[in-house]
């Protein structure tokens, strides 16, 4: 089994590997980095530090917490500290679009200005091709010379809010938003360590001494003592009933809590040892085999498994910050076998504000044995009743995705309006099709063309919200690795679009998206319509039905191959997803890409003038993927028995979705509604026309056409009232 899989994978990789260089010059994509780069003290023996720090020729070992290295250069023949180099993954593990972090090497000078940025490894599909890596390089170049202490965000500069904007990379918003966080967090962590950025000064807590002696249960209930539990499966160990580590912790300076936990004497002793701006907290381990002390403090004097974070500040503990916890005084405390009092020696820390105890673990990948950082934390915020004046109000900065939603609220509202509008219009399609006739389809087309126009201009070119098969593959990836709502929420339009797509595919089939709202599809058919209107009609043609019925399967094969490839390598699937001209058309622009891409997209669009939607019909893997569940849409289009021999609709069907038996292929139908116009058109629909003529000839009343597509039968009034009596 394994060998077979391996063989398949090898074959696939070999094939794709042969393809990739031809398509794009991918460099950092899944680049193989030496394992030492994440661990070795001499980072710069493995990472190109000199490239991100022009002028530096000597680099120290990793130091600090989190890690960085010092960059030295020669000035006047003397070795001089020029600045710092850091590896982003030493500092933060913020994932990008792929769910994996972008490994970035960052250079920052002594004044806290970025001097070099280099992506060493990423797994971003969009950067593999579509968007050239050079776009990312250009994005990163925007950081050069910028000060770490500034408020740097993706988007417009907003002088009144002191925000310095960076130009995003079109089509890779999620990636650059993540990258910005990585840059600012990495630089900030080092700048704060080396003193470039002033430590945050938080107003110290003023305690209210209530003079009561809470027991353990009370301490836990009121939040004065909190718990941090890590399960073995969270660190890649076999699941078991025992926790990996089970910690309780709390803040001790507050007199009531401190006395309750330590007892009066120990509390007084401890407080006597603390100077101004020093804070004591305790930790006990009530379960699990893992130690929270480890042995790092023995050699390096530093406890490397626990730290306290408050905002952007990280507080670590040295051996001299440790005190013995002799016991927990409060009644009802759990039994514990490891304990500590740690002292935070910084005025940056304030008990008035929330903070987190972080347990720094390692996750071991059981399949590969690869170790990665896995941090676990629990927030602690002193209960308001212990604080003079209660808890201070804090304005938490919005998550990046929230900021994006707020920033683009108007567009989001418009877009949502468009989606709801189209769905509403379609839900009332009966009224539109009845208002239309074979000769005059404007009641339908007015809405449809409007939708196309908005979707091409606003959705496609402006919002860049072109759904793509890569998103389907990315979900697949995310499902396997790390599903993060935040990530998908970072692109609100695609997010909303997919909700719309999923709902409408279930309701009506894929046609509403493909036929009404897909920017590329709309553009394609719009070109066809325009072509017809400007006199190219005679050159326009359809494949013969039998031919069509063969070629239409190609798109399913395309989808199948993409799906199959994605199981082995997302990267290569992304390469193959270039069959979609979407990136070229909307995200990057026809003129911004290598000529093969431009030629392909332009060719398809050109062909669209003569064949209706050639890409949609025969190639689109996204369409194929949506077509499959469309088989089971709930509400299909209407047919009548006479359709089995009548060819009126089939002839007019642009999608070639009506077979010779008059049946509609749900998977191919793009819900243009032409046949539905015919369905109620007493002049165009042959069975209706026949009946109309008969009635006219017989002088009978022309009753309205019912839901079944026939004239409502004429029945005697008595019978009708009799029927009512039932």
């Amino acid at each position: 089994m394994k060998t077979l899989l391996a063989f398949l994978r090898q074959t696939m990789l070999a094939t794709c590997a042969a393809l990739v260089p031809a398509l794009a010059g991918a460099t950092a994509y899944d680049a193989r980095l030496p394992a030492e780069i994440h661990t070795a003290p001499r980072l710069c023996d493995y990472a190109p530090c000199a490239e991100v720090f022009p002028g530096a020729n000597d680099f120290s070992e990793r130091k600090g917490r989190p890690w960085y290295v010092e960059a030295y250069g020669e000035r006047d023949g003397r070795r001089e500290l020029l600045g710092y180099v850091m590896l982003s993954t030493d500092i933060t593990d913020i994932p990008a679009y792929s769910g994996k972090p972008i490994v970035t090497l960052i250079g920052m000078d002594k004044d806290g200005r970025f001097v070099g940025v280099k992506i060493l490894q990423h797994s971003e599909p969009i950067l593999l091709l579509g968007i050239p890596e050079s776009a990312m390089v250009r994005f990163n170049e925007q950081y050069l010379g910028k000060f770490i202490g500034d408020n740097i965000e993706i988007g417009r500069s907003r002088r009144d809010e002191n925000v310095i904007g960076l130009d995003a990379v079109s089509g890779a918003t999620v990636t650059v938003v993540a990258q910005n966080q990585v840059m600012m967090r990495s630089g900030g962590a080092v700048a704060r360590q080396v003193g470039i950025l002033d430590p945050t000064v938080r107003e110290q807590a003023r305690f209210v001494e209530r003079g009561h002696a809470p027991d353990w249960a009370t301490l836990v209930r009121e939040g004065s003592v909190r718990r941090l539990t890590v399960r073995p499966d969270q660190v890649g160990l076999p699941r078991g009933p025992e926790p990996f580590i089970d910690l309780w912790f709390g803040y001790l300076n507050q007199p009531d809590v401190g006395r309750a936990v330590l007892g009066d004497l120990s509390y007084r002793n401890l407080m006597n040892q603390l100077g101004a701006g020093e804070h004591a907290l305790f930790i006990i381990r009530s379960g699990g085999e893992e130690s929270f002390k480890g042995s790092g403090f023995v050699r390096g004097g530093l406890y490397d498994r626990v730290q306290v974070r408050q905002g952007m500040d990280v507080f670590t503990f040295r051996d001299l910050d440790y005190r013995n916890l002799w016991g927990v005084h409060a009644a009802g405390a759990p039994a514990f076998d490891e304990s500590a009092i740690f002292i935070v020696r910084s005025e940056s820390f304030s008990a008035a504000y929330p903070w987190k105890l972080v347990f720094l673990g390692n996750r071991v990948d059981r399949a590969t044995g690869h170790r990665s950082f896995a941090n676990f934390d629990t927030e602690y915020w002193m209960p308001a009743e212990y604080l003079d004046g209660g808890r201070p109000k804090i304005v938490k900065p919005d998550a990046p995705w929230v900021r994006i939603w707020k920033m683009r609220a108007v567009e989001i509202a418009l877009f949502a309006g468009l989606l709801v509008g189209v769905a509403t219009v379609y839900a009332h399609r009966d009224r539109l099709t009845r208002a239309s006739t074979q000769k005059n389809k404007w009641p339908v087309n007015a809405f449809k063309y409007a939708a196309w126009t908005i979707s091409i201009g606003f959705v496609g070119f402006y919002l860049l919200a072109q759904p793509s098969i890569t998103q389907v593959l990315t979900w697949f990836h995310a499902l396997l690795f790390q599903w993060q709502w935040e990530l998908f929420l970072t692109d609100p339009f695609i997010f909303l679009f997919w909700i719309f797509i999923i709902v409408t595919v279930f309701l009506w089939g894929r046609g509403l998206f493909c036929g009404w709202l897909c920017p590329f599809g709309s553009l394609s058919e719009m070109l066809y319509k325009i072509g017809g209107a400007i006199g190219l009609k005679r050159f326009q043609f359809k494949l013969s039905k039998p031919m069509h019925d063969r070629v239409k399967w190609v798109k399913y094969w395309v989808f199948g191959i993409l799906l199959g490839t994605s199981m082995f390598s997302m990267g290569y699937a992304e390469v193959l997803a270039e069959v979609e001209p979407f990136k070229t058309t909307f995200l990057v622009g026809l003129l911004n890409r290598a000529w093969p891409y431009t030629l392909f997209a332009a060719g398809l669009l050109g062909l669209s003038i003569f064949i209706e939607r050639p890409f949609c019909k025969y190639l689109c893997p996204l369409g194929a993927a949506l077509a499959m569940p469309s088989t089971f849409r709930w509400f299909g289009l209407k047919r009548k028995q006479e359709c089995d021999t009548c060819k009126a609709c089939a002839v007019g069907c642009g999608s070639l979705a009506i077979d010779r038996d008059g049946r509609i292929d749900q998977r191919e139908c793009l819900l243009c509604l032409d046949c539905m116009v015919l369905y109620t058109d007493a002049h165009a629909c042959p069975p209706l026309a026949q009946e109309r003529k008969r009635r006219v000839k017989a002088g009978l009343e022309l009753t309205p056409i019912g839901a079944d597509g026939y004239f409502i039968p004429i029945k005697p009034v008595a019978a009708a009232s009799g029927a009512k009596a039932h």
Binding site: N269, G300, L320, W326
Partner: protein
């Protein structure tokens, strides 16, 4: 638990013991009476148990749990700090209790090869040197170690220990756990008992230790400069008072008799010492001639007032004020500086009960303990009592060879019976009632065999007002068959007893290197240690490796060095033969526990510098050649490589 360890509590009336006393007890003291004493004990063992039937299962269950408590699992910490004197090893040991694990030996009076105590200039200065720079004394005999108080409990500042051989007092800082000062008592020989006061007798604001009292045992001519060698009647002992901070001798009291131990009252008003040889005899038979010996009480406030009033003398060669505390000079209670309460012959040990009410003198040769009520002693000083012996509220029989008493804070005393090899638990109130004629009062609660010949005894927090009655440690002077034989010199046996219940339960034997005498143990919360030194402690500290090097002034050479694992700076230094060299070494490591050793081959030098500590040695470079100075205290993976070359030019 066998019947053997259960003793009837009403055996104090056993007449056979009384008879036995005068003949066998003395012989026992001479070392031959042991078997007889034991057999006497066994006699009683046959009597039916008097323990309440319902209490029987409890000790067994407790034994299991308390055994867990003394046998700590890896990573578990002890509940108590113990400070043990080291006897004639001249040191103080720190033990974790109740596990009995030895954590540290603090060298005080005697050089220590591990730390370089007595080798470094800093330690030599504390220990005292002859004019040629060599140590004044290389032997010591520590007996009693007691710590400083505040509000009736230990405050974790200091502990003091005596050196009986050379009459010195050493003070130990309880933050660094090092000896920081040594004072030699003038005109004292055989300095034995020692005890800090617990508060000031006059000023209520001073609720902590400011004085240390030292009992002189051997009476000698004053001054002992060769005069009166053949006039033993002029020999006298002195009772001394030191200032706890400066370690200067504040005053001395001339007394009759020889002081054994010292106790102080919780109110700060009284200090006392039990005395033998109140006859001031020189030979054994002279010392045994009086009917009773004494427990002498010192009225601290009156003594200090007398000195303030100038009513003192000095002894030639010393400017310490000396007041007269002899019985002859203190007959009028209203003016007396001392009160001499009689106790049975040759008493041993005086201990203050945690309730602050009583001092208890054990009889040693008498099978009794004498309970003296402190309020009555104060009453005597106020003239309210006719006879000073009216302060004795009980004098009850406990067993053979009672020596020292510990307390559980629940009204019970635990007294070692040297000859019986037992600990007896007895109730003080019941003893007083019995003494007052209530023959039904059964004051002996329990007896327990210990192994063997117990001397000092102490209980957790026993010498404070916060005696918690959890653990008892007994210093058995003989271990005999209790450990693997290692030749003629035996370890002593410190036995741990669980006293949290009605019955005592023996839970552990711990071999200790001879030969600790006295000890205290107290809650770990009371100590706050410093993890590493501070450069501020050392005026000569070298703060930067760049400041190291050889600094020459004629043939006086100073070598400034630093250590930072795994490197000494400088990596070599050059000297000339005959140079008087001082090496100053600062350990710049800041990591807890990362100390370095510094040894110079063939020069007899080795010492330890702890993190941020500075130490220095001075020697004459009299041997030319290359000498690899190396780190002796394991520090780093490159510990072996941590060296510096000392080059001595011929």
């Amino acid at each position: 638990m066998t019947q053997d360890t259960l003793h009837p509590s009403d055996e104090q009336l056993n007449p056979s013991r009384r008879k036995f006393l005068n003949s066998a007890a003395l012989a026992g003291l001479a070392g031959a009476g042991l078997t007889v004493g034991l057999s006497a004990c066994k006699q009683e063992a046959a009597a039916p148990a008097a323990a309440p039937a319902g209490a029987a299962p409890a000790p067994a269950a407790r034994a299991a749990s308390s055994a867990d408590a003394v046998h700590l699992k890896p990573g578990e910490l002890d509940t108590y700090y113990g400070l043990w004197s080291g006897g004639h090893t001249g040191d103080v040991r720190v033990l974790g209790m109740p596990s009995g694990r030895e954590l540290l030996r603090i060298p005080c009076f005697v050089p220590d090869a591990l730390t370089g105590w007595g080798i470094t200039n800093e330690s030599k200065k504390i220990m005292g040197t002859k004019p040629d720079g060599t140590l004044r004394y290389a032997v010591g005999d520590t007996h009693h170690v007691h710590a400083s108080y505040k509000d009736g409990n230990y405050d974790g500042r200091y502990a003091w220990v005596n050196d009986k051989i050379n009459s010195r007092v050493a003070r130990i800082r309880l933050d660094y756990f090092i000896c920081d000062k040594i004072t030699k008592l003038p005109n004292v020989q055989g300095f034995h008992g020692i005890f800090p006061d617990k508060r000031d007798p006059v000023d209520p604001a001073i609720n902590y230790t400011t004085r240390v009292f030292c009992g002189g045992e051997f009476h000698v001519p004053l001054p002992n400069d060769g005069r009166d060698l053949e006039n033993p009647e002029k020999y006298r002992a002195l009772f001394s008072c030191l200032d706890a901070e400066t370690m200067e001798v504040r005053w001395q009291v001339l007394i009759d008799g020889n002081c054994d131990l010292v106790a102080t009252s919780f109110d700060g008003k009284l200090a006392a010492s039990n005395q033998y040889n109140t006859e001031n005899g020189v030979h054994f038979q002279d010392m045994m001639s009086a009917e009773r010996d004494a427990c002498i009480f010192f009225n601290i406030a009156r003594i200090e007032q007398a000195i303030k009033d100038g009513k003192f003398t000095t002894i030639p060669g010393s400017n310490v004020p000396v007041v007269d505390g002899t019985q002859a000079a203190n007959k009028d209670p209203k003016t007396a500086l001392t009160a001499t309460v009689s106790v049975p012959k040759n008493p041993h040990g005086v201990n203050a009960s945690p309730d602050g009410k009583y001092f208890i003198c054990a009889g040693k040769l008498s099978p009794t303990a004498t309970v003296i009520e402190l309020q009555k002693v104060l009453d005597w000083f106020d003239g309210k009592l006719e006879d000073v012996d009216q302060t004795i509220v009980a004098e009850v029989e406990l067993g053979l060879g009672p020596l020292h008493t510990a307390f559980d804070g629940r009204g019970n005393g635990y007294t070692t019976l040297f000859l019986d090899s037992q600990v007896v638990k007895w109730n003080i109130d019941a003893a007083i009632r019995f003494h007052n004629g209530d023959n039904t009062a059964q004051y002996v609660v329990d007896r327990l065999d210990v192994h063997y010949q117990p001397g000092h005894i102490n209980a957790s927090q026993s010498e404070t007002m916060f005696a918690d009655g959890k653990w008892l440690s007994v210093g058995c002077k003989f271990s005999k068959d209790r450990f693997l034989p290692v030749g003629p010199l035996h370890a002593e046996n410190e036995q741990i007893i669980d006293i949290s219940g009605e019955k005592m339960v023996l839970v552990a034997d711990h071999p200790v290197r001879p030969e600790p005498h006295d000890f205290i143990f107290f809650r770990r919360e009371l100590i706050t240690t410093k993890q590493i030194y501070s450069h501020d402690d050392f005026p000569h500290a070298i703060l930067n490796p760049n400041d190291t090097g050889v600094f020459r002034d004629g043939n006086k050479v100073t070598v400034k060095m630093t250590s930072l694992a795994p490197v000494f700076e400088p990596k070599e230094f050059k000297l000339k033969r005959g140079d008087e060299v001082t090496i100053i070494l600062t350990n710049l490591d800041r990591i807890e526990d990362l100390g370095h050793g510094f040894a110079i081959p063939d020069y007899g030098i080795n010492f330890v510098v702890n993190p941020q500590e500075t130490a220095s040695v001075t020697f004459v470079a009299d041997k030319p050649g290359v000498f690899w100075c190396y780190c002796t205290h394991f520090c780093h993976a490159l510990h072996l490589e941590m060296r510096s070359r000392m080059l001595v030019e011929a």
